[in-house]
């Protein structure tokens, strides 16, 4: 394989779910998971995680800080289906039921380096006023059948959503062999390596 050049490229993503801005809510926790195409496979790290519950900071920023680390490595043969991170934020409502406070998704940045992303979050809306009332009352808000729905475009037209807040994410992206496979994603100076580099002890 070494002689023939790489047949897959690797994408290492680490970073963290830094904080969130949800002006109306407090005591939130967040789940993340990755959605990727058929040509992608995780090789190391966790694809999904659930954070601790955080309360708002007491300063004027009123930020909800999680600093929840992300560390995952993918391998792929095809940039189609580039990984997206799907976030869902949950928190208690007035009655203490855990309800969803926001869904959001963003693609992992393409170019290597440090990236900060602010993801707008939204929740699905109830289909009627009565539903809204009962769902509020019962603490069973409408939810996506699967949070991964927010990473796909198909079928979204049947839903109505409302914006909720923002989650700030930090990504550090490292790619390997993208150039060799013919995918140029970053500014040229960051893609210095050329020629066959020795295999790093990565799992196949």
């Amino acid at each position: 394989m070494a002689a023939a050049g790489p047949s897959v490229f690797l994408l290492m993503v680490n970073g963290q779910v830094e904080s969130a801005q949800f002006p109306e809510y407090d005591d939130l926790y967040c789940k993340y998971c990755f959605v990727y195409g058929q040509d992608w496979a995780p090789t190391a790290g966790l694809e999904e995680g659930i954070s601790q519950i955080t309360s708002k900071s007491q300063d004027v920023r009123r930020a909800l800080v999680w600093n929840f680390p992300i560390d995952v490595t993918f391998k792929s043969t095809n940039p189609y289906g580039w990984p997206q991170i799907v976030l869902s934020v949950y928190g208690p409502d007035v009655f203490g039921n855990d309800v969803v406070r926001g869904y959001g998704a963003v693609h992992v940045p393409f170019s290597p380096g440090r990236h900060k992303r602010t993801v707008p979050m939204f929740v699905p809306e109830s289909t009627s006023k009565l539903q809204k009332f009962t769902s509020w009352f019962m603490g069973r808000r409408p939810e996506y059948t699967d949070p991964k729905v927010v990473a796909q475009g198909e079928g979204r037209e049947v839903t109505r959503v409302r914006s909720q807040g923002f989650v700030t994410l930090l990504f550090n992206v490292v790619t390997k062999d993208m150039r060799k496979l013919g995918y140029d994603t970053g500014p040229p100076d960051t893609q210095g390596a050329s020629g066959p580099s020795p295999q790093q002890g990565l799992p196949p």
């Binding site: 047949s7 058929q38 040509d39 043969t77 095809n78 109830s126 009962t134 939810e143 079928g155 049947v158």
Partner: protein, 1622 residues
Amino acid sequence: MNPKEEKVKIITEEFIENDKDAGVGRQKKTPKVARQKRKKRLPTTGPEEMVPENLHFNQQGPVPEDSDTRPLSMTSRRGPRSLPPIPSASRTGFAEFSMRERMREKLQAARSKAESTLLQEIPTPRPRRLQSPSEKEMETEFGTEADEEVQRTQKEDDSQSYSRVKFCDSVRKIKPKPVVPPGFPSAEEAYNFFTFNFDPEPEESEEKPKAKNRDGMNQEEEEGEEEEPPVQEHKMDEEELLSAKDDEDFLLGLDHAAEDFVVVRPADYESVHVRLQMEKELLFVPSRLTVPTYKKLPENVQPRFLEDEGLYAGARPEVPRACQNIMENRLLTQEPGRKWFGDDGKILALPNPTKGFPSRPPVLTREQDIKAELETLYKKAVKYVHRSQHMIGSGDPSGNFQLDIDISGLIFTHHPCFSREHVLAAKLAQLYDQYLARHQRNKAKFLTDKLQALRNAVQTELNPAKPHKSLDTTQKAINEYKSEIRQTRKLRDAEQEKDRTLLKTIIKVWKEMKSLREFQRFTNTPLKLVLRKEKVDQKTDEEAYEAEIQAEISELLEELMEEYERKMEGYRASYQQWKAWKKAQRAKKKKKKQAVEEHPDEEMEEPYPGEEPVKPVPPEPTDRALVEQQVRERAAWSRRRPGEPTLVPELSLAGSVTPNEQCPRAEVLRREDVKRRSIYLKVIFNDKEVSRTDSRPLGADFRVHFGQIFNLQIFNWPESLTLQVYETIGHSGTTLLAEVFLPIPETTIVTGRAPIEEVEFSSNQHVTLDHEGVGSGVPFSFEADGSNQLILMTSGKVSNGVAWAIGENGIPLIPPLSQQNIGFRSALKRADAISSIGTSGLTDLKKLAKWAAESKLDPNDPNNAPLMQLISVATSGESYVPDFFRLEQLQQEFNFVSDEELNRSKRFRLLCLRSQEVPEFRNYKQIPAYDREIMEKVFQDYEKRLRDRNVIETKDHIDTHRAIVAKYLQQVRESVINRFLIAKHHFLLSDLIVEEEVPNISSEGSGILGLSLFKLAEQKRPLRPRRKGRKKVTAQNLSDGDIKVLVNIIRAYDIPVRKPTASKFQQPSRSSRTFSEKRAASPTTHSPTHSTDYPLGQVLVRPFVEVSFQRTICHTTTAEGPNPSWNEELELPFRAPNGDYSTTSLQSVRDDVFINIFDEVLNDVLEDDRERGRGIHTHIERHWLGSVKIPFSTIYFQAKIDGTFKIDIPPVLLGYSKERNLIIERSFDSVRSLSEGSYITLFITIEPQLVPGESVREKFDSQEDEKLLQATAKFQTECALKFPHRQCLTTVTDISGKTVFVTRYLKPLNPPRELLDACPNSPQAMEELVARYVSLIPFLPDTVSFAGICDMWSTSDQFLDLLAGDEEEHAVLLCNYFLSLGKKAWLMMGSAIPEGPTAYVLTREQSHYLIWNPCTGHFYGQFDTFCPLKSVGCLIGPDNIWFNIQRYDSPLRINFDVTKPKLWKSFFSRSLPYPGLSSVQPEELIYQRTDKAAAAELQDRIEKILKEKIMDWRPRHLTRWNRYCTSALRHFLPVLERNQGEDIEDDHRAELLKQLGDYRFSGFPLHMPYSELKPLIEAVYSTGVHNIDVPNVEFALAVYIHPYPKNVLSVWIYVASLIRNR
């Protein structure tokens, strides 16, 4: 050429041509020159001192840095160059020296003068700023030049001192630092100047001696020499350039030597004057004065003005005169060729319209050809900043557009109420308008002028002033001109004649009018015509007239002469011919005479070859007098006579109308009538009235003024715009006078720019009036005798303006082009042909070109430019007009590889196939990055499948017919799946969002809001917990191992018990049973004799349950006794095919869950009884007792399966028997014993619960009546409202995807003849046989074949052809058979265990109902507790549907009397009677007799395959086959078939025992309908017969196939294992 050199050249030319400038420069310069002279003298101490050169040299040595010497640089520089380096030259006389000195001065003067000229041009004091890079280069050249000279002196002059070298070096070192401005002498130059001898050597230069001579001749005349020095300069420069290369070499060689020296020098200073002088030398200022025309044209050529010749010459761009002059001067100086000037001596300012190719030179880079230029380059995408503020809502389809229609007024040119005078007035006005129009155009004048120009042109052409043109072309041109003249003259004459006639007519009408007014003694119209006479100068006029006539006459004469000549020519020719003929004739005659003499008998038969040619008549020469007469006559007719005043008619409205009182009664009536009339207009847009004007009274002058503007807000492109003119008379009513069609404006016409146009209209109505009005459409006359009648129709003109409105932001509100299609075409039709050429290819281009050539279009006129362009393109053949139209013509540019290459790429193909969701690739993971990594074999399966689509594979399917059917099914399935792939991608809200349902008061269960609120207060851990529904999981985020099938085996009843092998020859009592007996089967039929065989306490059977699913096997612990209770949960993992857990994929899982019940038999393997005391050696055998098979799809759709199932126990179970007596003795529930067979209670579910795929929500098209469909929808909603869980079926989908009303499927159909013949006298047996036949048709659930799509019903013939179907098809067929047998039968929709929603058949016997399971062929009484049907939703008959509206739906508790409307809601009732729907079933089913030989062959093959399989399954053991047993079994199987597997067990056993003696024997026959081989193998495998690994085991296997008509095959497989008893 070097730019510098060019500049110098320009300067010299300037000097030559423009003395004035030079003079100005000189004036300015003279004082400076004087000063310079003075300065120069100071250090040199003057030439007068006559110091020898050497001394001079020494003196000057230390002062070369003096800045004062710098202005001399040019001269000094030149000096040494022309000087010989020979030292001997230094010995020169004084005369020579002084002359040299003077020479130097002169050069200096000329130079400085040139500089000052430059300075004049450039006002900036710092010349450095203006230096171009080239000039800088020049500087260094100067510098190096100096260097070289120094070098040369060093080489050649041996006597040079060391100090001097040193000095030179130092100079050299400093030199690169200060950049010396051009023309300034460097220090070295100055030094050289002063140190070298200026010894003129005649062979060295050409100029020098010349100058010298001049000097010698007139030393005082400095002024005269001014022209010379610059020339010299220029040449010198050239020389310098040549040597520039060498200089650089020197520089490089010497650089290092100069580093040691530091020279202190004063700051550089350049005086302004010097700088100016230098600039003057370099720059060129063209003069502003007008260039005389002769300079711009070739010699002896008069300027030619195209305009005067009548050709088009475009308007020249506005350029100030001064600029033009400058340009002309420059061009004249720069390029002596006069190509920049036109024929008129003016600079060319316009593009030549006749030029066929663009003037701009092609930009060609050095080595690239055009193709390389055109190559597509990749550019990175640039982010486009969107400017939104200028965006208009162009994409907005509902943007409103506005059409402004301005209706200013209406004039009648004829109206019924016109009086006679009005008629004349209208006529007069019309004529006058015509006159005005003609006058404005003044075509006659234009043509006259043109004629004049042409005549002049002929004159000039004839003039032999242009020798360069060939005579031929001249002649041709003249001829053309002449023909042109002729034509123009004719046209002019016609025009003039028309003018004159018009004038005459006007006068005539006016006279008529006047006479009419006089006659009727009143005036109706204010019209008044005044004829103004314009006096002309009699004499000049006459002269002009005469000249014109003379010219015409001469031309005519010439023309006639030409014609005469031509005719004469023709005459001569024909005359010659005639003569020749005559001669020949005469000769012939002579000959003939001789011939006649010689052969008198021969008659003169020879006829003349043609008619005798007539002797041609010579043409008459033209008579000048005659011609003149003609011309004069014509002139008199068409032209104003000389001296006659020009008549100019003027029409005014100054006349007065006679008031009413003075008019006769008829006229008053007419006027009254006019007053009563009023007019209004309707605006019709796209045939719809959109608005109308106010009604305005008709004025006495028959004009109506509206002055209204209508703003039409429109959405579509207007197709028609019409105004309707309505007239109202008094209060009587309105009549439509006429319709006026307005053209739809071009898109360029917007409000404010639209001209007011007059559109004429006329009507054909007939009006006769009883007053003075002439009416309309009726004849009337102006004459008293009524002759010369006129018929006039109402007509008029509407003046209007139509334009597009402009929006608030200045954007015209015009609909987008896409909407214009229709309008555009119609607009095109109206447009003139020429302008629309090329837009749609209306005209044949070749014809057009021909026409253009014939009509001699002026190619200069920009109006014709597009046409000429088109013609040039079309006729040159350069442009290839394709006769096809291509969409996306730019696509090719964007393809990065060719299509073939793209298709060859395996990776691309793989990606495509995956995205198309081709089954083989649907979930292909990680498509390799390179082509080379993709194996060919990846595609092999897919390609094979594609290839085999039409090839029928008989390998897997032993039976060819079934192979065809399987193929067909596969194809139907594929097409249906493809059809619904899109539908699958339609999402519902519930697919995406989980939302609690709104608590509904009417909904069942705890739906009420209050109740659910109450639930909130519920205890968290109630004492009596209730089951809660599990949360459903969508299949999206599942992977292998996530899904498990849970099988909870609770208990079983009535397991067969072992028969002690000891007992032999039991002869059971056999009895033939009837229906009634079966229904109320009593245990008495079975004799309790067996019980004696079993000693109490002996283990009868040790059953355990083994569940196998997807080849995973789990089993329970072993229980004891025939009614074991296990209560165990088994967990089986589930793997979806290809790891695809999507709903579609799960639905198509065809795996079954096999639940097998085995008996665990412990065999003592100890051979020796002595061992018994020390250990137990037993061998465990498992004997298959029966199985239950549940398809996974059923579990998937049902979510859970809970109930008691009948165990499928083979009819013969060797070594086992049902232990019924015990049950009775233990006083079991008698109901249970009513049925025979064994039962098992199971609970099966999937963990986690999966959401079953929903059927397609698409509405299918239907051929049913719309009313019927509505009724079905209504019926279903009503039913669903009452009993939402009961199945109500009204319409189904047929195999072609159409919705069909369900009753159409039911129709009596004939069962196979053979079945009817089999038992003619027993209807019950026949029915059973029919049911069996139906059940033998293989079962294939629709959900499997059409995953997740829908339930499809095939008709019975299709079903029999396919030989596969699910419950509905079986039920329909069975029901149809029963109907044909004359029974009352219904299709019963309900839910059963384990099928779920299913279809059964209900028949009515004399007193009771029977429920038939069509898939198994079993029937149950209505009150049979073991009937698998658990609920009844509706009944379907051939002509109606009844929905169960009883409280209960269990068949045990409902009444099947459909005539009771309280219990059954019927679809067709009195309000909606049955319309008599035709059936979709065929008239009759045709059965082919099955080929028995084929069946036998199949039988053998199956047997062989099964035997091989069993051997395969026992890889570690020897498999022996007992042939005796096999043959015994083989004989037994047909008996089983005949008896349908009932009650033959004991016979059989006896026979076997008889044959095989002491074998321990276990075996059973399996019975199945035949569809494929795989299920058979699967079934055999699941019995586990092969698992016996006792060393001395033997096997027996027999297969029997009983063929039924229509290829329905009943397969029997008898498997047995034998162990020899010791």
